[in-house]
């Protein structure tokens, strides 16, 4: 057989293996504070210590001010935002997610900063009637003992939040 997942694993092939379950986050040194906050049902976003811009994901430089020493720190955010786009996943091509379909993924622009985008499931379910610009608020899925994954739920329009998202 050709190279690929089966050859890479050295196993007899995934067909014989039990269906894997949804993978859980595996924090590393840098992401540990993010997951620790998520476990407490607090959404955090990395913020540049030089220019105070929120950055997702935090990389080695700040894309806003260009600092190569951005000193990113995870800070709590409101978790409020608006739907920028979405898709309902009816079929998953990855093991671990096949038992989860259908689910709805939202691309959310957070209220804190233009273009600050986070992707998550919408916990209202796959049959939710959505529109672009709909207000959402962070919610959490408790996927394992002490492990929570940020997601979203439809929210009431906020007086202080953004309205219709810009084009």
């Amino acid at each position: 057989m050709t190279a690929g997942p089966a050859a890479a694993s050295g196993s007899s092939g995934p067909a014989a293996a039990p269906e894997p379950t949804r993978p859980v986050p595996a924090p590393d040194e840098r992401s540990a504070p993010y997951w620790a906050a998520a476990a407490r049902h607090v959404l955090t976003v990395a913020r540049c210590a030089r220019c105070s811009t929120y950055v997702v994901p935090p990389d080695h430089t700040c894309p806003h001010c260009g600092s190569t020493d951005p000193g990113f720190a995870f800070e709590p955010v409101s978790g409020r935002g608006t739907v920028r786009s979405w898709t309902v996943v009816r079929q998953s091509f990855l093991p671990g997610f096949r038992g989860e379909v259908p689910f709805l993924l939202v691309d959310v622009e957070l209220a804190e900063q233009p273009e600050l985008r986070v992707i998550g499931r919408l916990l209202d379910g796959p049959d939710t009637t959505l529109r672009i610009g709909a207000p959402v608020a962070v919610a959490f899925e408790d996927v394992a003992d002490g492990v929570s994954v940020p997601a979203f739920a439809l929210a009431e329009p906020s007086a202080t939040g953004p309205g219709e998202v810009r084009s």
Binding site: M1, T2, A3, G4, P5, A6, A7, A8, S9, S11, G13, P14, A15, P20, P23, P25, A26, P27, D28, R30, S31, Y34, V56, P57, P58, D59, P63, R84, S85, W86, T87, V88, V89, R90, Q91, S92, F93, L94, P95, G96, F97, L105, D107, E115, R117, V118, I119, G120, R121, I132, V149, S167
Partner: protein, 402 residues
């Protein structure tokens, strides 16, 4: 205009393609070799004339992959002065650069694609999905500092979100996407290499299974086993060879500030696809009005819409109207601006997924003018845009003949 010192100084002189199939039960290397030998024989050169090899870099070299090391040995090519692994659209550009710069004179470029064994759903073979699957099978988990944004949308779903957003912003309907799917399938019915040759209608498109709303089955390319190869040399050498030379007139890659995956949060017209095509037009004497053939990337139909708009056939957001007015209802194909034909081999959507590399070989065959009943009359220019997903590896290449 930008500098373009390589204009028309290089030519494609050989092409080779394997059959396309849903399960050919062959290794990637075996397919790659068949295509490579086909291209060498088509060019009519001795294989020892090849002194540069660009292979496919996706699978490990020692595991049935078709990287340059295995290819050169398996083909018995004694000496090369340039080697590289590449993929999707850009490998063609790398190879042309190598000949132009003098690092080699005659280069063999090979692109093999195989569906991943053991992946139960055929469309699971996107290179990114495959890479992720390999990591998982190797006992790794998706982790690291950059996964906050990427974790939740885990394969092609971002394209569905792009499509939803495009439809919202520009009030587009699914008919625009349907026309692309039908156009490609109609062309594929006449292409003996195509994996999908049963004609489809707009109604078939609309009735196809929804995978990631609003994206449907017929919005997605068809995973197959296949390989494509071609040979590039100098225009001077091409004059002595058996086929009418197909000249490389202009090329451009594209890169944007926001690089990979869904992190491509740039606006619709700011991503690398637009950058690549703008770079091409800045280097090309051939204009959009001169274009006989256009091969816009079609990994997903939303890619094709982006490519058509980025190429300048219409303003951003106007592809729906353009495709409606360009529709030849009798032939069930598109003629952009009443003239330019799209994806005459069926592309990834219907011939089968080759990362757009089958655009190059099809364009060369059509520009040679000897495709029999498939031949587009008087085709002299072709714009090839393979691998032009929004975020990775877009290439734009203008090919022409005399």
């Amino acid at each position: 205009m930008a500098r373009n010192p390589l204009k028309d100084s290089l030519a494609v002189v050989g092409v080779g393609s394997t059959p396309y199939g849903r399960d050919l039960k062959r290794t990637e290397l075996s397919l790659a070799l068949e295509a490579a030998i086909g291209a060498i024989e088509d060019a009519g050169i001795d294989r020892q004339e090849i002194d540069g090899v660009c292979g496919t870099g996706m699978d490990p070299l020692a595991m049935g992959g078709s990287g340059f090391l295995t290819l050169q040995g398996a083909l018995g090519i004694e000496k090369t002065t340039w080697q590289k692994n590449g993929w999707l659209g850009s490998c063609f550009v790398y190879a042309a650069e190598a000949v132009f710069s003098g690092l080699c004179d005659t280069v063999l470029v090979v692109q093999a694609y195989t569906r991943g064994p053991g992946m139960s759903r055929s469309a699971a073979n996107d290179p990114f999905r495959l890479r992720a699957a390999q990591q998982r099978m190797a006992g790794q988990v998706l982790t690291g500092q950059s996964d906050f944004a990427r974790r939740w949308i885990h394969s092609g779903e971002p394209y569905a979100a792009w499509m939803a957003r495009y439809m919202h912003d520009y009030k587009a309907t699914k008919d625009a996407f349907a026309r692309i799917a039908v156009n490609n399938r109609t062309h594929a019915t006449r292409n003996p290499r195509a994996a999908m040759r049963t004609p489809i209608t707009m109604e078939d498109y609309h009735a196809s299974r929804v995978i990631w709303e609003p994206m449907q089955m017929l919005d997605m390319d068809v995973p197959v086993d296949c390989a494509e190869a071609l040979i590039i040399t100098t225009a001077e050498r091409a004059m002595d060879l058996r086929h009418k030379p197909v000249y490389i007139h202009a090329m451009s890659l594209g890169g944007s500030r926001v690089g990979e995956y869904y992190d491509n949060s740039l606006g619709w017209t700011d991503n690398s696809l637009w950058i690549s095509l703008a770079g091409l037009w800045e280097r090309s004497d051939v204009t959009i009005d001169d274009l006989d053939l256009f091969f816009p990337y079609d990994g997903y139909t939303i890619d094709t819409v982006g490519c058509i708009e980025a190429a300048g056939f219409c303003k951003p957001g106007e592809a729906g109207d353009l495709l409606a007015s360009s529709w030849d209802a009798e032939a069930n194909i598109l003629r952009l601006g009443g003239h330019t034909l799209l994806t005459t081999n069926g592309g990834g959507l219907s011939q089968g997924r080759a990362g757009g590399f089958n655009f190059y070989t099809e364009a060369v065959r059509q520009l040679r003018g000897a495709e029999g009943e498939r031949q587009v009359p008087d085709a002299r220019t072709a714009l090839v845009c393979p691998g032009s997903s929004f975020f990775h590896d877009p290439a734009s290449v203008m090919l022409r003949t005399d």
